[in-house]
């Protein structure tokens, strides 16, 4: 098992290396004037020259790449043109908000998607199946930013049930301040017994999480359905029926575990989707996370920020894929032997 893990880690490291080359190219090679782009449009010519020297732009490309890698690995991801603070710091500060959102969306999407898929397979060709297939295809076709806006109109404007934007009611800063332990509001309020704030945080989480979960639910439900149908057609299901094992056990235990194997890949895909999907959801709900930061950086041509986010997002994807591989090998004993 450890050999398998090491092998996958090595593979991921190679991919990360390749990614660094691409981001390096985007950061230093593609723009016509990398230094100007690095410090922003308002810089003076002398500053541009200074930065050009600091970045080593006069050096041959391989040396530039090594300098770039050295900077990345030591945490020097540049200074944000907009906030004038180190990019890596800015990313880390905003990360919990985004992670909490993605986590909430996944907690919604994964069980719901799997359940819908199993029901759909169980009642193939009957109303539940058709309903789930419709929900799935609508889910993967909905523009997240549009869905977000519609939900805001419905739940805030029309029904007055949920808040419009943000992560928490600003007044709570005075009445029931949230301790800054982990940056995850749900966790922090839970641990400190701050029920008032916790309820508020939860209410603020509902719509954004729902919006972000739409596409994953659709995708997961579809994949679960397809792989359940495949599993249910296998010999071992017929053998289990011949042994007199109850249908419910066959579906929810014997077939499902097999069916979940390809589903883990899809869950990985939906996590990857969330990495950029969160940009749109955060923008619509003014969620103070990485997404809004990234979009602001993109629009203001805050180059260091854009590069930092790109590298961060790509690294995150590599980590997700690694986790998916591990989950699959846990589910499917046949893959554990493969080095």
């Amino acid at each position: 098992m450890t050999r398998f893990l090491l092998h996958r880690l090595a593979g991921s490291a190679i991919v990360l290396l390749g990614l660094s080359v691409i981001t390096f190219a985007l950061a230093r090679v593609v723009p016509s004037n990398p230094a100007a782009v690095y410090i922003g449009p308002k810089a003076r010519p002398e500053d541009i020259e200074r930065v050009a020297r600091e970045l080593g732009l006069d050096q041959p490309l391989p040396i530039q790449y090594l300098t770039y890698m050295r900077d990345m690995l030591t945490g020097d991801w540049g200074i944000s043109i907009g906030t004038k603070r180190p990019v890596l710091d800015e990313i880390i500060v905003r990360l919990p908000a985004t992670l909490e959102l993605i986590f909430a969306a996944m907690v919604l999407a994964i069980p719901a998607g799997i359940l819908l898929g199993v029901l759909s397979a169980r009642w193939q060709h009957r109303p539940p199946d058709l309903a789930v297939r419709l929900i799935s295809i609508v889910g993967v076709s909905l523009p997240a930013f549009w869905l977000g806006l519609l939900l805001q109109v419905l739940f805030f404007r029309t029904l007055h049930l949920l808040p419009l934007t943000g992560r928490v009611d600003p007044d709570l800063r005075f009445t029931a301040p949230i301790a800054d332990l982990t940056g995850f509001h749900m966790l922090d309020t839970l641990v400190t017994g701050n029920w008032v704030a916790m309820q508020d945080v939860a209410l603020h989480l509902v719509l954004p999480a729902l919006t972000l979960a739409a596409y994953p639910i659709g995708l997961i439900a579809r994949m679960t359905r397809a792989s359940m149908l495949e599993a249910l057609g296998q010999d071992y299901v017929r053998a289990a029926r011949a042994a007199g094992i109850a249908d419910r056990l066959i579906i929810y235990r014997l077939a499902l575990k097999n069916a979940l194997i390809p589903v883990t890949t899809v869950v990985g895909l939906t996590l990857a989707y969330s990495l950029t999907g969160t940009f749109f959801v955060e923008v619509v709900y003014s969620w103070p996370g990485l997404g809004t930061f990234a979009v602001k950086g993109l629009l203001n041509l805050d180059y260091p920020v854009v590069m930092g986010i790109t590298l961060f997002g790509a690294t995150g994807y590599v980590v997700i894929n690694l986790a998916v591989d591990l989950a699959q090998s846990w589910l499917d004993p046949r893959t554990r032997l493969v080095a």
Partner: protein, 327 residues
């Protein structure tokens, strides 16, 4: 003569597809007595697997029973609700399949699967359940129960998996074991072992066996009686000795002649039956085998031959059977 354990009468199964219906079984009747091993033999597509699946109500969705009756110890099985059938599957009737590697769930250990099979019928305390499983494993020649129970299917050989499958089928002490081509996917030496095992188990425990196979040699080695199926209909039925020494149906004779002898010399021509099996026997007027039959007469093409007794329980579906003279 005690009542038969299993009595299949006039069983007809059809396939329903978008492009029309085809006949899978066209009025098959057979009996399995208490404690006997009946071999059900025929080439691929003759309906022998369908017969086995029909008994337990495991037909695929595209197939349905058109008519007939299946009685297990006098009790009619066709028409039972799935819940009632489930109580019979695995407890009164056990089934073993062709490909042991695919009949076990690849992501669960064998132990888990066998415990589930036992728990489906008998609520035993954990210790007793374990004991029963280990006993049965020992009986089928797998004394290293620990290793087998902890293993995943891909970690065991075909022979071991087949023994385990037989063990699982026998856990609840069924009175009938349906074995659907249990040795087809195995090497010849392992095949011999499994056949011996089945015979031994049958002798010790006394259950009946419906042994489905396409291999005449296997049928001869293991069965007390043989039923020959052709294109969804019964061609002949007799005790093993009688069938092989005095086959009455031309198809049976052709089958026996077509078996290549292991010791035959190279120059001997391989006998074969010319022609192919009809695609949909339901649309055939006369005898299904007539187009390929070396002794067919006009009557054979026009009128289906029904199964008749041609002498002390020897049944054959041929107009010309029992007359002795070969035309």
């Amino acid at each position: 003569m005690s009542a038969p354990l299993l009595a299949v009468s006039d069983l007809a199964v059809r396939f329903v597809t978008r492009d029309g219906n085809t006949t899978g079984l066209d009025g098959v009747s057979l009996e399995v007595g208490q404690g006997e091993i009946v071999g059900l033999v025929g080439e691929t597509g003759c309906g022998k697997t369908l017969t086995g699946l029909s008994i337990l109500g495991l037909l695929p969705r595209s197939a349905q029973v058109a008519r007939g009756s299946i009685r297990l110890e006098g009790r009619e099985l066709l028409g039972l609700l799935d819940g009632e059938l489930r109580r019979i599957r695995g407890s009164s009737v056990g089934m073993v399949f062709q490909n042991p590697a695919s009949a076990f769930n690849p992501v669960f250990r064998l132990g888990t699967q066998m415990r589930m099979a036992l728990a489906a019928h008998e609520r035993l305390p954990k210790a007793e359940a374990e004991a029963r499983i280990r006993e049965t494993l020992a009986e089928v020649g797998l004394p290293e129960a620990d290793r087998v129970l902890r293993a995943y299917p891909h970690q065991l050989s075909g022979g071991m998996l087949q023994r385990a499958m037989i063990a699982e089928a026998l856990l609840c002490r069924p009175r009938l074991l349906i074995a659907d081509e249990p040795t087809t996917a195995l090497d010849v030496t392992i095949e011999a072992q499994i056949l011996r095992l089945i015979r031994r188990l049958q002798e010790t425990r006394g259950f009946s066996v419906l042994f489905i196979t396409h291999d005449l040699g296997v049928v001869r080695a293991v069965s007390d009686r043989v039923v020959v199926l052709y294109a969804g209909r019964v061609a002949e039925s007799a005790t093993t000795a009688t069938l092989f020494e005095e086959p009455e149906h031309p198809y049976t004779r052709g089958l026996i002649a077509a078996v290549p002898h292991a010791a035959a010399r190279r120059k001997e021509a391989l006998a074969s039956i010319p022609g192919t099996v009809p695609a949909d026997v339901g649309s055939v007027e006369g005898c299904a085998f007539a187009p390929r039959c070396p002794i067919a007469v006009d009557r054979c093409h026009l009128e289906q031959a029904l199964v008749r007794d041609v002498g002390s329980g020897h049944l054959a579906a041929c107009h010309l059977a029992g007359r002795g003279a070969i035309l």
